[in-house]
Amino acid sequence: MKKARFKVDELESDIFKITGLEATVGAFYEEWEEAPGPTPMPDISTFRDWDRILLNKYKPFYLPLCDLCCLCTMGKCDLSKGKKGACGLDMAAQQSRIVLLSCAIGAATHAGHGRHMVEELVSKFGSDYPLDVGGLSVLVEAPHTRLVTGIKPRTLGDLEDVLDYVEKEITHLLSCCHTGQEGDNIDFESKAFHAGMIDHVGMEICDLAQISALNFPKADPEASMVDVGMGSIDITKPVILVIGHNVPPAAAIFDYMEDGGLEDSIELAGICCTALDLTRYTNKAKIAGPLSHQLRFVRSGIADVIVVDEQCIRADILDEAKKVKAPLISTHYKNFQGLPNRTEDPTDEIVSDMVEGRSPGVVILDSDKAGEVAVRVAMGVFPKRKKSGIIPEESEIIEYATKCTKCLSCQRVCPNYLPLPEAMEAAAKGNLQPLSDLYESCIGCGRCEGEGVCPNELKLHSIIIGASRSKIKEERFKVRVGRGAISDTEIRRVGGPIVMGEIPGVIGIVGCSNYPGSWKDNAIMIEEFLKRRFIVTTTGCAAMNIGMYKNEDGLSLYEAYSGAFDAGGLVNCGSCVSNPHISGAAIKIASIFAKRKLNSNYEEIADYIHNRVGAVGISWGAMSQKASSIASGFWRLGIPVIVGPHGSKYRRALLGRKDKEENWYVIDARTGKRVYTGPAPEHLFISVETKEEAMTLIPKLCIRPNDTTKGRSIKLNHYIDLHKRFYGAMPDDIQLFVRTMADIPITMKDEILEILKEKGWKESEVPAPDPTLLPRLVRKKGDGNGS
């Protein structure tokens, strides 16, 4: 392949203009038979109009966490009740600025991760190493990259060019958060959408690189099963625990184990996405649990060595590791932890210092070296440490509990206000059950143990874990490892039924483990929709937690349901950076099934998805800035996202007003006429409080203007059925979703007809428009203003 590097500021035409970017774009265009669409390499201004269409339909409702802004030294400023800050900023703009900041941080984190990993993989495998995420079954290998940038990447080296673009956009976005830049909340929101779109490109780069170079499962619906849960770890062996998101060091640990024939003598377990990605590398690795398991696993003393890379690592990991005498190896410059950088030191010296306890931790920025050191240190310290943990025994817990004065302080700092004092009262009487009952609802944050919280310095998190020993032993489940992309073949098979509404919806359940209740709620919600033949996709900590539950037959949902992207399938795509396979499936439906042009054609594809693809994202335990940028990438594609109650702290919702008829018109692309299609989907981003509420909202947010009558009646059937179950009555908005008599679910006909009559419902004149929000897509010219 011949690639000419040239400056894109030479590339200017009637359709588009790009300035100031050095890349190899032209060479890719030559090879990609599809001509570029209108928006290659979009900048912050490119999709402002599209964003405003969405933000007019789904207006922000701001939820300040605090009335103050404290971002610059003219502040603090009180922005409540219409006041402005010293810089002129108002509350709406400040809240939206924080949303942008969060999304930009998230996007930067994935892009930084991608850059680091691609550089490492290029140095190992060469920049010409070919990308392959599914052979001939995944010809659209990089839907986001192609859609946004116009680049069709073929090799690891090509990904570096895409990252140049991503990094440039993120820099501009971050700069917009500076004091004295943007002042309009809707423009901040549009920029947050831009960060989300860019983030999905950045994540896609990460996963493309690792799937290809580390030979992860390639769009395989039958990817293997691995163990998840603390109880699945064999504590008779040395245990290496890896934490974070960047898998190459963990992969290097396994390589060293394998080279030495040690893979059955040492347990390699992980927390967070490094664990998910490690199991895509080898099914001999185990998943100890999600982020919420970090403290409990470390304190259990099971790990003999802890290896951290980047993201979602406790900032106090070194302190915690020291408490259990487990040496810590940091493998990433994002996370030095104050440790000496010993990358250049002789391996024998490092190993000896750690095994002999002279060094509690080191930084090693070379994955292979870190891999060797981790294995040798694990073997060296194993006989000495004797798995010493700091989790109290039953008798100790009872003794501690007698000291509790029921001051409520621990409960008042707990994010889930768990009833710790009550549980301690029972424990003082010898009953540890109430403490153990908190195990699945405790997110493992350790706030209840904070300095000055408990007047008696009781270590409540460890006490909960100590009271849950028998549960932890039983914590042995199965997860299907991340399969990566959705194949083009699958898209062809289900594209029609999804767009028609006959597969009632595609649910993406993703994100962190900041749950408001039991982690099992994820699985309970999802099981309901698997039974209802929705397609369920998942990634990240949510993917683990879905596995950490057994159905009535004693099976994990991964064992009970197929891994195919099809009705009733449970599709684990992988780690956080695998999210673009979910959004990418929606893009591929538009491009492969509906044959919409993919190359640099974002607006049209987003318009298609918003109006036709009944998809909804849910992140029940969303916690991080990355979760916000991931959600934002879905918003710009017009895909609604639901978050759990803690998600209200993202500071704003994007809400439709179904009572305002004027908000729910589309343009019929066939005629140019404006057609009322009802609030479909009703919201773009919403936090809900209970799983019952989420379960009722999910099928409703899968309703789209394009549904056929059969599809609409199927979707309404699920919505109404769940509403009746959880709310005890018919919903009050059915009349907004029934377009013609044929939309009415047959088994509910009488009930619904009665409601329609009462509400003065009339059959729609154009029940099946060719829906678009973009006047330029109207085929009948001369009437494109939608009048």
């Binding site: 207006k59 409702f61 701001y62 939820l63 300040p64 966490l65 605090c66 009335d67 103050l68 009180d78 922005l79 409540s80 009740k81 219409g82 509350m91 709406a92 302080s409 008042r412 700092v413 994010p415 206000y417 408001p516 109650p645 803690h646 209200s648 702290k649 500071r651 919702a653 809400l655 007003r657 009572d659 919201h683 919403i686 936090s687 809900v688 409080e689 209970t690 019952e692 509420e693 009722t696 909202l697 959880f726 709310y727 005890g728 009555a729 009050d732």
Partner: protein
Amino acid sequence: MAAEPWQRYEVPGPVKAAVIKKPEMVSILLKKAKKPIFIVGHEAAEIDLEGKKPIDQIIRIARAADIPVVTTAHAMAEFLKRGFKPAASMTSMDIGNRLTDPTWSVSGEDEPHDLALILGMTYYVGFVIEAGLKSFAFDHLKTVSLDRYYQPHCNWSFPNLSIEEWSGYLTIIAQEMENK
């Protein structure tokens, strides 16, 4: 006078809700209001209030004062079980958002609401929604938290109460409204 937020770290900023020292104050606010509305979340049906639930007192108050009730999360089912039909059911985000609209009323016909009584949302969700109302509905709507725990972003809130105190406060408000 203000109180301390129940969840320790939910600090609001310089302006905090005035504490309702006597439940009779709520009855006075209700009597003065032109178009009050009651926002009731799922916890109203979950908390045990000396054998009853807060929802039972809410129904008494709503009936006596003829206040429309909007339920959030899945609280509606519990009202229906008790033979009381809420005016509407929507997510807490939705009702918060609508209350920022100075033209909105739950019936769609009446004048907009000028007083919202709030009880039973998840504490930290109520906190941010009330912060939203404080900044985006301040010129047309006053907010009163009847939750057991102090909600600093409202105009008025109960302080942090024991179950017994809370139960007593809600009972007094119900009696006051029934005897008005």
